[in-house]
């Protein structure tokens, strides 16, 4: 390298020449080291290439994943709800596939499937072609035996044992537990290495909510394999960390009673402990069998599920919001007492009909209730009484108390996809509808109609707050979480007035008589939410099914020391007293019979 005339001028004190000389020496040293590296690669890739080619070809060390067993799920008494069962998958090694037609014909005959079907599956199998692809899942033992027996003629096939989720109670716990699905690209990005493609992750329900806890951590093993890829011995193993077992607060028996009683009707049963928020039953009907997801749904089956009537995939308890109907009168009564709009002695004359803002409004009882006070108004669900106090309160006071009792907001249950419902107010009307609130609408809201929408779970939280003396609970499905109770500022005396009325609903000629039990005093409120507006007094049961009213029954028991809140909601069930209340009674019967037997 000639610096020549381009060389910069010398400067004193920099000792340039010395530095340049040393730098050249360092450069020479580096160049030597670099030459050694180049020679190293030349040695490995040119001189020893054949040796390494053979090693690669017979690379008998394979690193394989050890699937971590997913955590089991059990109910509050330790009864298993979800377990893992072995499942056999047929793998095909595309590198060893010599006669594609013959191979697939053989597989088709063993599996009893058309060859064209397997062709499609093989063509659509993703992943690297160097890795075996899954051709069929969930083989039975006879099929496994036939593939193993044919290993010599068909080395391209192998059988892999994996674990499949078995939901023991299928549709009965489907919405609570959720199911597993293939990991998506978005999941992989988010997990940053914790997941790999082909993994199953929780979708919906507790499988999603507690996915990380349930999943555990996969291990790995390095095994020596023979030239056919079959394992000879294991040389290193990093054990898998099994997922945690989940103990739920759910009571399997109550869940089953709910499922059996609701049968094929669309609706919801929620039962929870008002002292802690522990959910004892949470059923949404119609339901689906999550075991079909575990086996892998094809697109036709999925389409069927999505298009099935009444949306079986939807968890109605948290995702659908409905008019609460007369159940809402509990909130309006509390608001009136707290705001001083009414006292327990305030009475109203019900003639079965009254005009508000130039529109006649009816009580459900055509002949009217006569003179009723607050207790009787709740007991007999007199609409006119609530029109009166609702009008006096105004929509904003009603909205404030609805929110205090947990309506219009998510409850915070440990399930995803919860909806907040809607508690209308004048501010909401301006914001969402860009129109003022009409006083006439307040009349509808006072009896739980109008734009007001609540989820069945919210109604259960509201009832829990009534039952436990004014504490808002956060419902939860996992046992042993610290109960979260937030006090609502209210006068306990007012709450007692409501308690007495709700007792009378069930036990003293009220609309909830169908729920009454001989041994345990219950308290509750029925509701009948109109689906279409009715101008005359009609029996909903005579209407076409999709126009029939929704039936509600919200209750707790024992009345004086509540241990259980039960909310039953039946879509198009007609009168709450007829269809929802008897179902609640079945739940209490089972719950307290069980409790007595175990001496709790």
């Amino acid at each position: 390298m000639t610096l020549g005339s381009l060389a910069p001028p010398k400067r004193s004190g920099e000792f340039r020449e010395v530095l340049v000389a040393r730098l050249k020496a360092a450069g020479a040293l580096c160049a030597t080291a670099y030459a050694i590296v180049v020679v190293g690669y030349w040695y490995h890739q040119v001189v020893r290439a054949e040796h390494y080619r053979q090693l690669a070809e017979n690379n008998r060390l394979r690193e394989r994943e050890i699937q971590a067993p997913r955590g089991l799920v059990e109910d509050r008494r330790g009864r298993l709800l979800v377990e893992n069962v072995p499942s056999y998958s047929l793998l095909i090694d595309r590198n060893q596939l010599r006669d594609r037609g013959a191979s697939l014909a053989f597989a088709a005959s063993v599996l009893g499937r058309p060859r064209a079907d397997l062709e499609v599956r093989l063509a659509s199998a993703g992943g690297s072609r160097f890795e075996p692809a899954v051709l069929m899942e969930d083989l039975d033992l006879e099929q496994v035996a036939r593939f193993e027996a044919a290993a010599w003629e068909h080395p391209e096939f192998s059988v892999e044992v994996t674990q499949r989720r078995l939901y023991r109670h299928g549709a009965q716990t489907a919405h609570v537990l959720g199911y597993l699905g293939q990991v998506t690209q978005a999941d992989l990005e988010r997990a940053a290495g914790a997941l790999r493609s082909g993994d199953l992750v929780g979708r919906n329900g507790l499988e999603e909510q507690y996915d990380q806890r349930l999943r555990g951590r996969d291990g790995s093993q390095v095994v020596v394999v023979d030239s056919r890829g079959r394992r000879i011995e294991q040389v290193r193993r990093v054990g898998a960390l099994p997922g945690q077992r989940l103990r739920l607060s759910l009571d399997l028996e109550l869940q089953q009673v709910a499922a059996e009683e609701l049968a094929d009707r669309a609706g919801v049963v929620v039962a929870l402990d008002p002292r802690s928020g522990a959910v004892r039953a949470l059923l949404s009907s119609p339901s689906f069998d999550p075991n079909r997801f575990a086996r892998g749904l094809d697109s036709r089956e999925w389409q069927e599920l999505v298009e099935a009537p009444h949306d079986p995939l939807q968890n109605r308890a948290i995702y659908n919001a409905y008019s609460p109907g007369s159940v809402f009168k509990i909130v309006v009564a509390m608001a009136a007492l707290e705001r001083g709009v009414a006292t327990p002695d305030t009475s109203v004359w019900c003639a079965g009909q009254k005009r508000y803002w130039e529109r006649p409004r009816r009580c459900w009882k055509r002949v009217g209730h006569g003179r009723v006070d607050l207790h009787e108004a709740l007991q007999f669900s007199c609409d006119i009484y609530f029109y009166e106090i609702g009008q006096a309160l105004g929509v904003d006071a009603i909205a404030e108390w609805a929110r205090r009792f947990g309506l219009g907001q998510t409850s915070g249950i440990d399930l995803s996809g919860e909806r907040a419902g809607l508690v209308p107010s004048s501010e909401w009307s301006q914001r969402a509808r860009r129109s003022p609130w009409y006083p006439g609408e307040t009349i509808s809201v006072s009896i739980g109609q109008g734009p007001l929408l609540v989820t069945p779970l919210q109604v259960a939280v509201m009832m829990a707050a009534v039952a436990n003396g004014g504490y808002l609970v956060t419902p939860h499905l996992i046992e042993h979480t610290e109960p979260e109770l937030r006090p609502i500022e209210l006068d306990r005396g007012h709450l007692r007035v409501v308690h007495e009325a709700l007792k009378a609903v069930v036990n003293d000629r009220g609309s909830g008589q169908n729920a009454a039990l001989p041994t345990i005093e219950l308290a509750g409120k029925t509701g009948t939410a109109q689906v279409i507006e009715q101008r005359t007094w009609t029996d909903s049961d005579t209407l076409p099914f999709e126009h029939r009213d929704h039936a509600w029954f919200a209750s707790y028991g024992p009345a004086d020391e509540p241990e259980l809140v039960v909310v039953v909601f039946v879509e198009h069930g007609g009168l709450g007293s007829r269809s929802a209340a008897p179902l609640a009674r079945k739940i209490y019967e089972r719950a307290f019979r069980v409790a007595r037997r175990q001496g709790v």
């Binding site: 920099e14 360092a26 290439a49 390494y52 070809e57 992943g127 493609s197």
Partner: protein
């Protein structure tokens, strides 16, 4: 003197900026670094094809950012950058400290921070800042040979970030500060007895670290290097698989995306520290020679720039940057064929990783800047 008194970007009247073609060395640097980065992106794409995470678009973003960083550092006057060195160094040390306290664990070490979802490593920034401060300090020493106190201060400048990074624990990242110190101090001049004394101290510290300061997996890596046959299936697994991947690539390679060893996920860290094994397997010795040739051209150009640098600072800065890049290249390529123990050291321009890619382009830019200012009158710069 105020730090900002000199214009950070040289004025148009400076002779270097107008009407002069880019020197051959500069053109070589730009060309090789971009070709290397593009080859790296292709290799990363192949290496991560099976993982299911799209590393290619992210690396593409880093390379584009890197080119911007290269342009900016080439335009800045390196004297100005050197005067900022103390502050940059302080920022680097604080960042490394914060990572030590708050960083989240990745592969057993707390070194990655999420920066706009792309991930960055403050130790790479600290590395650059350390080169700058060391140059700034030793550039001002007007002696033929450094005295003991100069060497001690230099060791302290390097020692602070090294200690913090080693605590993460990221021994590989910490070790790569060593060549920077050795390179700059050697060129600046050091007496033989100091070298011997320093080597003794390093050996003592190294021994203490090995027996008391290392995690089991780190100790095992070193043992398995010293004697790979001792445990071929445990810690030696990675070296063995890497060598098989490289060797079986032979002269022509197995073809892009066709490397059975790499695609079969035998190789851990194959898109980061072991990306060169993927290159070697898929493009053979021809590809290896091509890439190593590019590094050779890059380093020769850098050396030319260092040798004809205008002043002591420029020469030392170029020497420091060259030491850093050369050390990474030598160590990483050596590690892939088992010449040195496995530790997390990326390959410049090729490995996946944001902050290190930026470091490499910044170093290239600074070298360009040094060369473009080799004729500038001293008085004007000051």
């Amino acid at each position: 003197m105020s730090v900002l008194s000199a214009s950070p970007v040289a004025r148009a009247s400076d002779s270097w900026s107008v009407g002069r073609r880019l020197s051959g060395a500069i053109r070589s640097l730009i060309l090789t670094s971009i070709v290397l980065a593009v080859s790296g992106a292709a290799a990363i794409h192949s290496a991560s094809a099976e993982i299911g995470v799209a590393y290619l678009p992210r690396q593409a973003v880093w390379v584009l950012l890197g080119i911007v960083v290269m342009a900016v550092s080439a335009l800045l006057d390196y004297h100005f950058v050197l005067r900022l060195a103390v502050w940059l160094y302080a920022v680097g040390v604080v960042a490394v400290t914060l990572i030590l306290i708050f960083g989240h664990e990745a592969g057993g070490a707390r070194s990655w921070v999420g920066v706009a979802g792309l991930g960055g490593q403050p130790s790479d920034f600290a590395k650059l800042a350390t080169v700058l401060l060391l140059t700034h300090f030793l550039g001002g020493v007007r002696l033929e040979m450094l005295e003991l106190r100069h060497v001690a201060v230099s060791a302290l400048i390097v020692g602070v970030p090294v200690g913090l990074i080693a605590l993460q624990p990221d021994l590989g990242g910490a070790a790569m500060f060593g060549p920077i110190l050795i390179g700059i101090v050697f060129v600046a001049g050091v007496r033989a007895r100091l070298v011997v004394g320093g080597a003794a101290i390093v050996l003592l510290l190294g021994g203490a670290l090995f027996f008391f300061g290392m995690k089991d997996y780190q100790r095992e890596r070193i043992l398995s290097f010293v004697s790979p046959q001792h445990d071929p299936l445990g810690a030696g697994y990675q070296i063995r698989q890497s060598k098989i991947a490289v060797g079986s690539g032979a002269v022509l390679g197995k073809g892009y995306m066709q490397g059975t060893q790499s695609q079969l996920r035998f190789l851990p860290a194959r898109h980061t520290d072991f990306v060169f094994a993927v290159v070697a397997e898929e493009s053979g010795f021809l590809g290896v020679a091509f890439i190593l040739g590019l590094y050779g051209v890059w380093m020769a150009s850098g050396l030319r720039i260092a040798l004809r640098a205008r002043d002591r600072q420029g020469l030392l800065l170029a020497a420091g940057l060259l030491s850093a890049i050369a050390a990474h290249v030598l160590y990483n390529t050596g590690m892939v064929i088992g010449l040195v123990p496995v530790t997390g050291i990326p390959l410049p321009f090729l490995s996946y990783g944001g902050s290190f890619t930026l470091f490499c382009f910044a170093a290239t830019g600074l070298l360009i800047g040094i060369d473009r200012r080799r004729y500038v009158n001293r008085a004007r710069a000051r």
